[in-house]
């Protein structure tokens, strides 16, 4: 087993970037430049890793040369590499947005370091091979995002941060409890070794309880139905680039954990878990879409929409089977790009208002004073979210519906299609309110300059490319990923346990 330095690079670059940014705290401009540079380098590492994983199979890096199962091992299999690539790509856009943002909180010396630490947590959660490092990464991500929301320009940010840290700490505690139960039963936390033990059909006493605790922690991180109530507040009040990250990739950490639970660890019980996830997903779709229809704030609408979109992914996982899993992963991948682009666009719109808010009463009719490109971008993003053909949202809907047809679950299929129409309704409604209607007296005053549109423009361009030129390669890549996920032996053999017990 050879160590692949790309894994360490993807994880260490943002960490080093965070330290460098802290050291250059005197110059805010230099900090932001360091942030963009670190994000770009991490992206190069992750892209190289994705290419290598598909060329040569599972890549590993044993930290400090302590061989698994004793040491901490970083593992990139097809799923982990794909998610790490997605995270680093969106992070580059987020850091790019920070570069030209006029929020007051961006000038705080800890903003960029915390942003980069969030990336460390995200990439670490995707690339780790043992559960305890997963816990550490998730906690790092939570603490960074809580701090970033607490310093938000929005006056309610602090309250939302308090709400989230109380709930999320509870979730993290149960994650740790589940991990302790795992350790008590299996004597190891290396995922490959646990998977190997579980594959033999052995079911220790505490294992089902541990699985449920892990599942609850992941559902809480993804804001799925019984644990969702903190999400709209938290995602609305965060600073624009942060809320774009929270709503697109931070919720995907939970989805990633669920993928690992049902395809690597608890394969025999996966059927039961999938049933549960399917039901929770449908609840999320219905109430998320309805909630998005009746909100008063454009960013809050998108936060509710995330609640619904995670529901689509869970329904895909719930259907099970190869095609449905392909649909779920394509959906998760594309949604990250669409949602981060849309949240950044709404942030740009909000940045033109006097008090920086995305409330419809304040942004209604604002579009007449904004650059016309913004209107087109919001419309394109909305169509992508609803799944209209030339954009990547269509590909993900198509892949998901294929999985449903393959499964023959017509009830849920109808709900999925109908919710797509609801998505179109709320997105078009928001677009009309901002760009088509006559301005209210409350919106007459605007700032002359808002945030730069470069980052959302980049993301929408990626959405267009993913929906047209790269649609076929993406589907092939993800089909190959699912083929490798369905065979846990590939992961276990790839980690290469040294003692084989």
């Amino acid at each position: 087993m050879t160590d692949n330095p790309l894994l360490l690079g993807a994880l260490a670059t943002p960490l080093i970037g965070a330290i460098l940014a802290l050291l250059s705290a005197r110059s805010n401009r230099r900090q932001r430049a360091i942030g963009v540079a670190a994000g770009l380098i991490a992206w190069i590492f992750a892209a190289g890793l994705l290419a290598q994983v598909h060329e040569f199979g599972v890549q590993t890096y044993a930290l400090g040369s302590w061989q698994p199962p004793y040491g901490i091992v970083l593992v990139a299999d097809a799923l982990g590499a794909l998610f790490a690539f997605m995270v680093t790509t969106i992070m580059v856009a987020g850091l790019l947005y920070t570069y030209h943002c006029h929020d007051k909180c961006m000038t705080y010396p800890t903003f960029v370091p915390l942003f980069l630490l969030m990336e460390v947590g995200l990439v670490g959660a995707m690339l780790t091979g043992d559960l305890f490092t997963l816990f550490i990464s998730m906690e790092l991500m939570v603490l960074a995002s809580v701090s970033l929301t607490a310093i938000s320009d929005d006056q309610f940010g602090l309250e939302a941060a308090l709400k989230y840290i109380l709930i999320s700490s509870m979730g993290t505690l149960f994650l740790l409890l589940g991990i302790a139960a795992m350790y008590a039963t299996f004597g190891t936390l290396n995922m490959a070794e646990i998977a190997q033990t579980l594959l033999t059909g052995e079911r220790p006493f505490l294992a089902p309880a541990a699985a449920l605790m892990l599942l609850c922690a992941f559902l809480l991180k993804s804001a799925v139905f019984p644990f969702h109530f903190w999400q709209p507040d938290f995602h609305t009040t965060a600073p624009t680039p942060i809320s774009a990250m929270l709503s697109s990739i931070v919720v995907k950490v939970g989805v990633y954990g669920i993928f690992r639970l049902v395809t690597l660890l608890f394969i025999e019980e996966a059927f039961l878990l999938e049933r549960l996830l399917g039901v929770l997903g449908v609840i999320g779709i219905v109430f998320g879409s309805l909630g998005a229809l009746r909100t008063y704030n454009a960013k809050r609408m998108l936060a509710y929409s995330t609640f619904a979109q995670i529901g689509f992914i869970l329904v895909g996982i719930g259907w099970g089977g190869t095609l449905a899993l392909v649909g779920a992963i394509v959906y998760a991948f594309n949604h990250a790009f669409i949602k981060s682009a849309l949240l950044m666009l709404m942030g740009v719109v909000a940045s033109y208002t006097k008090i920086k808010t995305a409330d419809f009463v304040h942004v209604r009719g604002l579009g007449t004073k904004l650059p016309p490109l913004l209107s087109w971008l919001v419309l394109l993003g909305g169509l992508a979210l609803a799944g209209v053909p030339p954009l990547n949202g269509f590909i993900s809907k198509l892949a998901l519906i294929q999985g449903g047809v393959d499964n023959g679950d017509w009830v849920n299929l109808i709900i999925v299609v109908a919710a797509g129409i609801l998505t179109l309704m709320y997105m078009i409604r928001a677009w009309q309110q901002i760009f088509q209607q006559a301005p209210l007296p409350s919106t007459t005053e605007t700032k002359p300059v808002g945030d730069s549109m470069a980052a959302p423009l980049l993301l929408i361009a990626i959405c267009l490319l993913l929906g047209t030129v790269f649609a076929e390669p993406l589907l092939q890549l993800i089909s190959e990923t699912v083929r490798q996920m369905m065979d846990p032996q590939i992961y276990i053999a790839g980690v290469g346990l040294s003692n084989g017990s």
Binding site: F132, V142, S147, E159, K163, I165
Partner: protein, 114 residues
Amino acid sequence: MIEFMFALAIGILFGIGVFQLLRRDLIKAAIGFAILFSAINLFFVAAGAFEGEFAPYLSNVQAGRSVSDPLVQAFILTAIVVSFGSFSLLLGIVNIISQRYDTVDSNDVTQLKH
């Protein structure tokens, strides 16, 4: 006997922690969080503490005798650091809340409700 007492202690700490975490007073909730974290750390220690006969130093391992699991203690040290970090962040947020809202009663911290 010690194992039973240990389990009982973990259970009691867990109960106190959950009860405190659900209090209206935010400072009590924060302390409940710390207690709950200690309970889970103790649970983690219990997973490996009662197995071996010797402390895991390389020098005093005798042939045929078992040593206790050193890994859990490494895990706990990390978990304590993590819990310390989140506890202090939580207290910091509660501190600013108390200044901005003039209360630490969570029933009065409700500006997000529209």
